[in-house]
Symmetry: C2
């Protein structure tokens, strides 16, 4: 029974980790390609012009690196039949989910008001804000999957200690 | 030994909950009193003009309500000598710490870039951005104490199930 619960929680974790990785990757692509205007004049707007989006980028990259590490370790454990590292899972998932939560918060916090200010001043942002919004939404979804992973790893922790 | 560990983790939790409550209360006061300009003209800037600060306010109020509930329950359990509610602690601390993390993220995400935009356009914000920054910093500290509480309640959970 305990063996079965561990096996099913492992499969759930693996699926959630793959999902997190895909969400973060798309979020990264949408954010990084978010540039408006030509490079000839000063009107060009890049995501790097805003600190909040730079922070978002940092959290996404950290999230992708952690997801890749966990995917490699999980596949390694399935092949080798090891017990995994419950402490790495517990603290890693917790820490990364907080990092992604603050990243999504920063992204939305700036984008929502930026959108309103731009609409009010009738500046044409050419979907700059919409793309930022899409990227932040994907980051939020990745945070939710990591938060679920964090609950699973908290439950898996005590059985092994 | 287990009894002792539970007692010390309970005292640590109580201190952290009181600290969280105080931090959130000061953060609320700083944010809610953040108004610049006179009410006669249109130049008045309130924190409610920005969606990110409204969201911050909501997360702070939720955090304060939860802290108060937990403080009452903790004192009730100490007096009555009960076992407490490990599941409420586990999911409550986890959920509230995520709420506070996104609130702090939204607050910083807007404030950092708002400050830069205002400095660049030489608009005098009369410390509006500094007070928002202070409020977000206090919220961030409250998030850290709640994250520590969440680790403690994850460790306390399995002993009782």
């Amino acid at each position: 029974m305990a063996q079965q619960a561990t096996a099913s929680s492992r499969i759930a974790s693996l699926i959630l980790r793959i999902l997190t990785f895909i969400l973060l990757l798309i979020s990264l692509i949408v954010l990084a390609t978010n540039t408006v205007g030509s490079s000839d004049d000063d009107s060009k707007v890049r995501f790097t012009d805003f600190y909040a989006y730079r922070y978002m980028l940092a959290t996404i990259v950290i999230g992708i690196a952690y997801s890749l590490l966990q995917l490699v370790l999980t596949i390694f454990n399935i092949v080798r039949g090891g017990d995994g590292m419950p402490f790495l899972d517990f603290f890693g998932d917790k820490f990364i989910s907080y990092v992604l939560a603050t990243g999504a918060g920063a992204g939305f916090g700036l984008t929502v008001d930026l959108k309103r200010l731009m609409d009010a001043s009738e500046v044409d942002m050419l979907n700059f804000d919409d793309k930022a919004f899409a990227s932040a939404s994907l980051l939020l979804l990745a945070f939710v999957t990591t938060a679920i992973l964090s609950i699973i790893s908290a439950y898996t922790l005590p059985k092994r200690v």
